[in-house]
Subunit: 691 residues, 2 copies
């Protein structure tokens, strides 16, 4: 599943990302200010108007759980993937009502089910603020001070915008410092579930089929966005095309790819390959094993950790794909050739060479410094929701008293509204899984970093992980959002006086985390940021501006063609059908993870089995694009991105138009499923505009 | 398709083959005198009786067109693949009646259609004649003379047996000279077609899907064997199991694998990789291009070359798989490690080292000699049926006058009956395709060997291929089998006096071919044969006799389990269903080669789509196994081998039980197809014993 890349949420030094010099056909995750008009005109004779682009952008939605979506009705219906919705589904489920297993359908608006902590964003404004951000540090020689000045300026821009417009305001670094943009978002936090199929229908084939194609998944969910307690009325929604994507058709994908490393320097790829990825894979395997052991205890235990196992297995498959890609000599040779070409072209111009030529070595030097520290950054973790919120509270009450520009990342004024929304989430936290995750994380931390590590010592009392975890989880009151609110409202005094064991642990950890953050900024980021900015500027000079920036979990436009590709010694088809769902299920004797749901089995006589189910296109996507709408030339919705094929896992580093494919649910399949499997004609009618 | 390996029919020096030292589970193509009883007992607790083995052997049939089959009714019904039968189907087709396109079904015995030149063999006797063959050369120091003495002894053994029993009698070299066996066959030449589906149903997915899985092919055909003008009545037939192969089930495959190179020395693999395979691939590509150009001229032209293109594309895919396998560093490392182990173990015993230790270097030396000559051996060819039979006639009349032991290979007394059957085939030969194939072959020969090459000069008059081919094909009368018979019966005088231009060309080529044959025997085979025999003996000493010999297109027993395998980032199922046929067809918008036949499309309402269609097992097979029966523990027919997966193409060199799979048609699918698609209930009843 094309979920937000796991790495993007790890506490790791940011990786330097640069845009690509020589583009392959249909490559690219383009910003809406710089769409690939030239390529579309030349290859497809297609000339989107500004209105076409604006409508698509304003119909696109970022789900801050880590995915994408789109408005698909004038009454705020929001289409995304089941696997993007599953976090909220899990939070709304109980032992009695397991909506992941049974699915959900609100036949009336009254039944629509509120998501506890889902914020969604629509990108309504974009302003280039590069000069202001870069100018703030221009005359400051000291690197650490320069970085600080730049961060203060970013915070100021965000705050000004937020104060003036009330919009969520994020300054985004694109082309790794080549440009800075202020992105203004309309944020919605009243997001209610309307429909989700059974997990098994959405995720047919399970972990084995994940990141592969041919596929037979109905990986869809529908929310409705509310504003002031009423369904959002909007003209910015995508018309549903009931015929759906056609083989050979030009399509567009509008969504939020999370992170790519296409322009990593070779030095950075070596860090990824040799240090980061082996460590993450080991970490993921350990967590999966522990969670599976827990799940084996019974159905309720299995339910509690289902979404966690899903996410971890998904990440593991991504990382295994990345490891294979970086072990592929052809890929490394390609990356090396690109870097050699870039360096040669910079060196050929004495002025460029003087200004930018040293950046590669600077980065290589920083990478050498980083490598031994990565293990510490990665394994200092608790994987506990309660501890995370405890630390947020401890830092929040301190940070908000400091000048905005001086605060830790994430605590700037413009960010506080979203942060408080998350900190005060009413979603239930289960002590059993808190203990499981925390025990696994701290045991691994002890093993990897030693019992003498400062972070480990600050949490684990007397070296006994089991007793520590029991004390913390059993003793804390932070499961109750009202307790969190009290502490937040009580400020520094209340937090300092708290005897909640989780807050006490967070207080002990806080200085260690701050010191790490300071160390990374002063010795790593302060050097990397200007070096990467130099490479970005050099790249614009050498290769021009007809390029796209690496992914940053902000809105991007991709384009491509619906078509198959060489696979397994033969060719994969452009789309699959419901016939294939029944074939693959019968081929495995209907055993999990290839079992049909009772509703699917019962629909056999009704379904038109030749209806396209899933399809592939050459559009360039990555984790975070899950739930992205696929639209045709007229801007109508023809599909719903939910995955990439196994070959696309190398897409983090390099795009291969021959074999890299985005996998989507076909718009015809969604209607067929709603009407024939789920008897949701009313909802299908709303999508088709037939009410 | 697992057709007889193309290389096996090329005029190339025989490759040295040795049996495997360390067997993987379910590896092996075992002779019926040495079945894998130990493995079956240990892994499956299965203990086949001698009667079980004899019944399976006597129910198994070799089709000398290059495939395998089995008796499946007491009235001589012979089950094989459509693609094994397709040569005879093509020969019986005309522009008006294209049985390849339309299929064929004889509703009465009177309609059963005689095959023009199909001989089938049943292995009724096996005798170990190693001592006699090896003894014949024991005291002869001169290598060339020793080889000749051995060949004379083999001819004598065959003639004695043939004279005594009337059976086809072949001495077979197993373990590359480690053992010699006299195989006695009951031969049948009255073989009539009863049923064949449309080519498109048998070969759904065409060249792209060939050698892949999942598959959806009904690759079956039924002949009936006649004796003395009446259906053969036999107790040696396989009972049809209507439920068919089950996932996880132990199965057996009895058939005639054509050739493997599992025990090639590294020196021999290098010859294959660097010289043989690139040349063959170029040759195949050239022939395919020429034939496709011809086919584009019209439907009748397409019909005429359809089977040729099929066979060439099949071979090309095999050779591309072999090239990939030999380019795979892991495979080469595995082969090198095996050879190193073998050499080390021989060297550890001074007596063995003295007797056998030099064989590897001897072979490596011979390989160096062979390499520059391979191009000549490969490209000296006409690909003309008429020229081939002309040369056979020229050689036949001369050879039969010589002492049996002195003759060219293929002309020994015991072989003459089969040879005459082929030479006098009434199958129609088309001048247009003769010209096409001959022009392609001779043009390529000129290009690769130069116009001064003796063989090229002997055929191509005045350097003009086009005119030469027109003169030969337009001028010859050899299309008429009566003319061939007249020349054969007229003997050397008639052949010498003939002014038929094809016979004249053959007379010019004959001395060149004889000289090549002599050269290869005296300088290559005379050294290779004893060296390979030494390695074979050493292998028995080092690894014992619990091994199987490389394939030799003689009857073998393989065993395995019905099960899927890791593929495409996920897992392939143990079987497919008719649902999958309709899925893959619809997924490609029913376009060739993924189109349903009208009969298949019409059967949609009648077919039980969940019926297993094709399935995979771990059984170890290779080209020539096409048409092999798959039987269960009780010896009942549960499937019909027709292909291997793409991963199995490395099986020529190494068996990988994790991913190597044999692909078969499921016995339930054959019944379902006969009854519901072809309305052939009568035939299905005969198979089920329901008459």
């Amino acid at each position: 599943m094309y979920m937000l890349n796991f790495r993007a949420v790890l506490l790791l030094p940011a990786t330097l990302l640069l845009a690509a010099p020589a583009l392959h056909a249909e490559e690219g995750m383009w910003t809406f200010d710089n769409p690939p008009l030239k390529q579309l005109a030349e290859k497809y004779n297609f000339h989107p108007t500004q209105a076409w682009l604006d409508h698509l952008r304003l119909s696109s939605v970022r789900l801050n759980d880590g995915g994408s979506g789109s408005f698909v009705s004038p009454d705020g219906l929001l289409l995304t993937n089941h696997h993007v919705a599953r976090g909220q589904l899990q939070k709304n489920s109980t032992a009695e009502h397991d909506y992941l297993r049974t699915g959900f359908y609100a036949t009336t608006q009254a039944e629509e089910m509120k998501s506890p902590d889902l914020e969604v964003n629509v990108l309504v404004g974009m302003q280039n603020v590069t000069e202001r951000v870069q100018g703030a540090a221009k005359r400051i020689a000291d690197e650490a001070k320069a970085l600080k000045a730049r961060e203060a300026e970013i915070a100021a821009i965000e705050k000004e915008s937020k104060d003036k417009t009330g919009l969520r305001s994020d300054v985004v670094s694109l082309y790794h410092g080549g440009e800075y943009w202020l992105y203004q978002y309309k944020a919605y936090t009243d997001v209610r579930l309307v429909f989700a199929p059974e997990e098994q229908a959405a995720f047919f084939g399970g972990d084995p089929d994940n990141f592969t194609y041919p596929r037979y998944d109905l990986d869809m969910a529908l929310f409705r966005v509310y504003e002031n307690g009423k369904p959002l009325h909007t003209a910015n929604y995508l018309k549903w095309n009931a015929k759906g994507a056609q083989p050979g058709e030009l399509i567009f994908i509008s969504g939020n790819p999370g992170a790519t490393s296409r322009e990593d320097t070779i030095a950075q790829l070596v860090t990824e390959r040799d240090v980061v990825e082996p460590a993450i894979i080991e970490y993921l395997q350990r967590r999966i094993a522990a969670a599976q052991q827990f799940a084996a205890q019974g159905p309720e235990q299995a339910r509690l950790v289902g979404t966690t196992i899903f996410g971890l297995q998904n990440s593991l498959k991504v990382y295994q794909g990345r490891v294979e890609a970086l072990a592929d000599k052809a890929i490394i040779a390609k990356k090396q050739a690109a870097e050699d070409d870039f360096r040669k072209k910079v060196a050929a111009n004495p002025a460029w060479q003087k200004e930018y030529g040293g950046a590669w070595d600077t980065i290589a030097h920083v990478e050498e410094q980083i490598r031994p520290e990565i293990k510490t950054q990665l394994f200092r973790r608790t994987d506990s929701q309660l501890f995370t919120v405890a630390l947020q509270i401890v830092q929040y009450v301190a940070e908000i008293k400091r000048p905005d520009g001086d605060r830790l990342p994430g605590f700037h004024d413009a960010q506080l509204e979203s942060l408080r929304f998350r900190m005060l989430s009413p979603a239930r936290i289960y002590p059993a899984t808190e203990k499981l995750y925390m025990t696994t994380a701290l045991t691994l931390a002890q093993e990897k970093l030693g019992t003498q590590d400062a972070y480990v010592q600050a949490i684990v009392q007397g070296g006994d992980v089991g007793r520590t975890v029991d004390t913390l989880v059993d003793g804390t009151k932070l499961s109750d959002p009202a307790v969190r609110k009290e502490l937040i409202d009580g400020g520094e005094a209340a937090v300092a006086a708290s005897t909640d064991p989780m807050i006490e642990a967070a207080r002990r950890v806080d200085p260690i985390v701050r010191e790490t953050s300071r160390h990374l900024r002063d010795t790593i980021s302060s050097v990397l940021t200007p070096a990467s900015e130099k490479l970005a500027k050099a790249r614009f000079l050498v290769y021009g501006k007809d390029v796209y920036p690496d992914a940053t979990f902000t809105l991007r436009l991709s384009y491509g063609t619906v078509k198959g590709y060489p696979y397994n010694g033969t060719i994969a088809p452009p789309f699959t059908t419901f016939y294939g769902l029944f074939d693959r299920s019968a081929s495995f004797s209907n055993k999990p993870p290839f079992d049909l749901t009772p509703k699917e089995a019962a629909a056999l006589g009704k379904l038109d089995l030749s209806t396209p189910l899933d399809f592939v296109s050459t559009g360039d996507i990555i984790g975070g694009n899950s739930g992205s709408p696929v639209v045709n030339r007229t801007g109508e919705l023809v599909g719903l991105i939910f995955d990439g094929n196994i070959e696309s896992l190398a897409g983090d580093f390099v795009y291969d138009g021959q074999r890299n494919r985005a996998v989507a649910v076909h718009s015809a399949a969604m209607l067929e499923g709603l009407r024939k499997i789920y008897n949701a004609d009313k909802l299908a009618d709303e999508l088709e505009g037939k009410q």
